[in-house]
Amino acid sequence: MDFSLYFDLPLWFRLVLQGTIVILVLFPLAAACSMAERKISAWIQGRPGPNRTIPPFLAWIPGINIIRNLGLFQLAADGGKFTFKEDPVPGNVNKFYFILAPILSMIPALSTISFVPFGAYFTTLADGTKHLVPIMLARTDLGLLAVFAVSSLGVYSLILAGWASNSKYPFLGGVRASAQLISYELSMTLSILPVFLWVNAPGGEGTLSLFDVVQTQSQPGFLGGMWYIFLMPVSAFVFLVALFAETNRQPFDMPESESDLVGGFHTEYGAFKWSLFFVAEYAHMIVGSGIFCLLFLGGWNPLPWVSLGSFINLAAGVLPCVASPLFMGVIGITFFLLKVGFFIFFFMWVRWTLPRFRYDQVMNLGWKKLLPISIANLIFYAVAIAVKDLCFPNL
């Protein structure tokens, strides 16, 4: 297949095109998560969930009941409802910031995705060697640092919403959001440092790129092909817990906690603005799960010790066309999305299993448990990696 036509387009145009496509996928995906959430909660509670809505003019199509039973028409109906229903602004809010907050919440949610690679494909260089290229929007060495920097801006929209609502429950929700996110950010960052200590071998070029993290999990050999979840289970665990807290998911959904704060920061919101907060939350979840998969589950590699490259080489023996960049990209993205999908499922599964922690328990857990664990973990891996590099340099 020839893509020269595409690569002849001006760079800015290609970037705009790619960005639009990613957002056009991410936004409905985040919305679809809300339906998945409702369905999974329903199944856990022994209900079928939303399964009734269907536009009457489509009802004659055979087999359409599958879509109906999955609630996809309900999703469309909800989207329409949120867009067109009356959007009241309470009288005593600070209007400017009140309207700004949901818009602000979308910015970090949608922009972090640009640093996340979703797949990779081989290109053949001029000298005939094959070279793996990531599929991502912004290929920078900043990688994870940029993700953390931008995603932690998300908390500002919650604080702003809580404050601008000018009412006590949103205010409490906003305060909780800020305290919780700041506490868990620490453990989160500390928990992944060992990964980058491992990736950035001394003497090599330093990088924080998520693509390189996946690359180091796709090398040949026992250690090279090992996913980091086996190598650093404690890191993975702490990161996962912190991820739950950072995305405000149960059991850490303090900012919302509808049983004691009505709805927390979004109490005063309705209609489209409210749905923006939710799309942002799900987008954070998607990106968060994506980063977890990249860091600890080998990104787009199908299995531990089987990298995408070797899988494609194997498959190309049977079906030569899979070696084409397009196919390989699609296969890589599929593996990646499967893993991300599992994690989103896991998020929901946990939400409908665990009760919410009390606020003081959340703080205790964050500062007195996770933080010491992640520091000890960091020290342990720093020593272990130093010992490995000194004593067994060619392992």
Binding site: I40, I44, R47, P48, W349
Partner: protein, 182 residues
């Protein structure tokens, strides 16, 4: 007093991490998830009505097609929320059922007041009013929620009768008049 002191064991380290319990909880919810759902798809599937169910109160005919209510108004008196309104009426002399005392001219049960207590059924000396299986009463106006006599008989239909009290009474009265003694 027999007091049992339950010893509270301190949690072990593993328990304090919550992990075993979280895993147990996740297993439980997963098992629930793969189980078939319990929901009855209501308008298409209907629940099985147990015997003795107290649905909407209705008036019934006996197998000869005679309306059984004699408008004694006991049910109207006993009804706790005063849902029943009865206007008694005479039965014309040329009516085949002229031997029966009376019949209601109008019989209304306001289903917005009815509490489905079943006292009307219990008190009725004629076994004329029954709370049957109908459980869904809807209407767009208050007036629609008042069941009038026609509607009550339509809902009630015909139920078997063991006594045929009024027919027996009639035969007895006829036999007595033929026999010439009281």
């Amino acid at each position: 007093m027999a007091t049992i002191t339950v010893e509270r064991k301190p949690l072990s380290l593993l328990e304090r991490t919550y992990i075993p319990n979280i895993v147990a909880g996740l297993t439980t919810t997963f098992k629930r998830m793969v189980k078939p759902t319990e929901t009855l798809q209501y308008p298409e599937q209907r629940p099985a009505i147990p015997t003795g169910y107290r649905g909407v109160p209705t008036l019934v005919n006996d197998p000869h097609g005679r309306e059984k209510c004699v408008s004694c108004q006991l049910c109207e008196f006993v009804c706790p929320p005063k849902a029943i309104r009865i206007t008694p009426g005479e039965i014309a002399n040329d009516d085949p059922n002229a031997h029966v005392e009376k019949r209601p001219k109008a019989f209304e049960i306001d289903m917005l007041r009815c509490i489905y207590c079943g006292l009307c059924q219990e008190v009725c000396p004629e076994e004329a009013i029954f709370l049957q299986n109908q459980y869904s009463m809807t209407g767009y106006t208050r007036a629609e929620m008042v069941n009038n006599k026609d509607r009550l008989y339509e809902l009630g239909g015909t139920l078997p009768d063991q006594h045929y009290k009024w027919d027996k009474k009639k035969t007895a009265a006829e036999a007595a008049s033929r026999g010439g003694h009281h």
